[in-house]
């Protein structure tokens, strides 16, 4: 069986603890640098990071990007605007296709 970890500010991540997720609250996004190696060595298969934390850890996360596990996913934090996870996906699309792909609203 596999485990989930979440790194972010205390307000954003606190609600996940009762759901069985390992939460790693950080005072400031920079504190996540100290937390990250421990989370990696603990062997969590799915790791969620809030947007401000991703901004700090982007280089460290890129180092494990070519491994199938762990899957590191960006989620919006309680105070953030959202959209960084979407932008990360757009970069992957640009990398694959060599160009941006316009969003087509099918609804």
């Amino acid at each position: 069986m596999s485990r989930i970890a979440i790194i972010g500010d205390a307000v954003s991540v606190a609600g996940f603890r009762p759901l069985g997720i390992a939460v790693f609250p950080v005072g400031t996004p920079e504190d996540a640098r100290a937390v990250w190696p421990g989370v990696l060595t603990d062997g969590y298969e799915a790791i969620f990071v809030t947007e401000p934390v991703y901004a700090v850890l982007a280089a460290a996360i890129a180092e494990v990007a070519d491994r199938p596990l762990p899957a590191v996913t960006v989620i919006p934090g309680a105070g953030s605007a959202g959209g960084i996870g979407g932008a990360k996906l757009e970069r992957a699309i640009e990398r694959a296709l060599g160009t941006k792909m316009p969003v087509r609203d099918e609804e």
Binding site: I4, G15, R17, G20, A65, T73
Partner: protein, 207 residues
């Protein structure tokens, strides 16, 4: 483009022809792989965009409910309530092969029943917020699997495209250039040999 330096003999010609044939076969295989990877990639993008939008909006609504709970009961009470529970094994992670790319597969998350805090001291909204979070965790896990697959496919597509282009625009033209050059030189030497023989024959006839 750099021209190949080869000795113009039949042995070298055969060697280059064999290499060009292998390169063409490899190019075709890699091109087929690239097409299939792109098909897999494109099929995932639209669904992933929809899923991300829904996860983000559900998360924002759960954060909103948690904020109201904090305002109603006080941050320390809610913080203490949220200390309930402990990290556990929620899902099964495995891997599968998509066109030689190992991608993760996450089975559905089994979110534990939320309990362990006092219903008397916490507002009912907190239950609603945690229920919403419980539902969104399942979608978050699906999103994690999909996004990781997309990233891994994107990296493989990029490297496969480079290989295809290197074969198509560098190696194959170089080998074909080398073959052409050897053939021209061999033809040339054959022509000069023939001319020489004709000349010798003519001289012998004159005597």
């Amino acid at each position: 483009m750099a021209v190949m330096r080869v000795s113009p003999n039949r042995m070298e010609l055969l060697k280059l022809r064999r290499r060009a044939e292998t390169a063409r076969r490899g190019h075709k295989l890699l091109k087929d792989k690239l097409d299939e990877l792109l098909k897999e990639f494109m099929a995932r993008i639209a669904e992933n965009r929809r899923l991300r939008q829904s996860v983000e909006s559900e998360l924002f609504s759960a954060y909103g409910l948690l904020a109201i709970s904090r305002a109603e009961a006080g941050a320390p009470v809610v913080a203490q309530a949220l200390l309930a529970g402990e990290p556990g094994n929620l899902f099964l992670a495995s891997q599968r092969n998509v066109m030689s790319v190992r991608v993760p597969v996450f089975s559905a998350a089994a979110v534990p029943a939320i309990q362990g805090y006092s219903y008397a001291t916490t507002p009912a909204l907190l239950d609603g917020a945690l229920e919403t979070l419980g539902e969104v965790v399942v979608s978050m896990l699906e999103l994690a699997e999909r996004e990781k697959t997309i990233e891994l496919l994107a990296a493989e597509i990029e490297s496969t495209r480079r290989r295809v282009n290197a074969l198509e625009y560098v190696l194959i033209p170089q080998l074909e250039g080398g073959i052409r050059e050897i053939r021209m030189k061999l033809d040339e030497s054959e022509r000069s040999e023939r001319t020489r023989l004709m000349k010798v024959k003519e001289m012998l006839q004159d005597q």
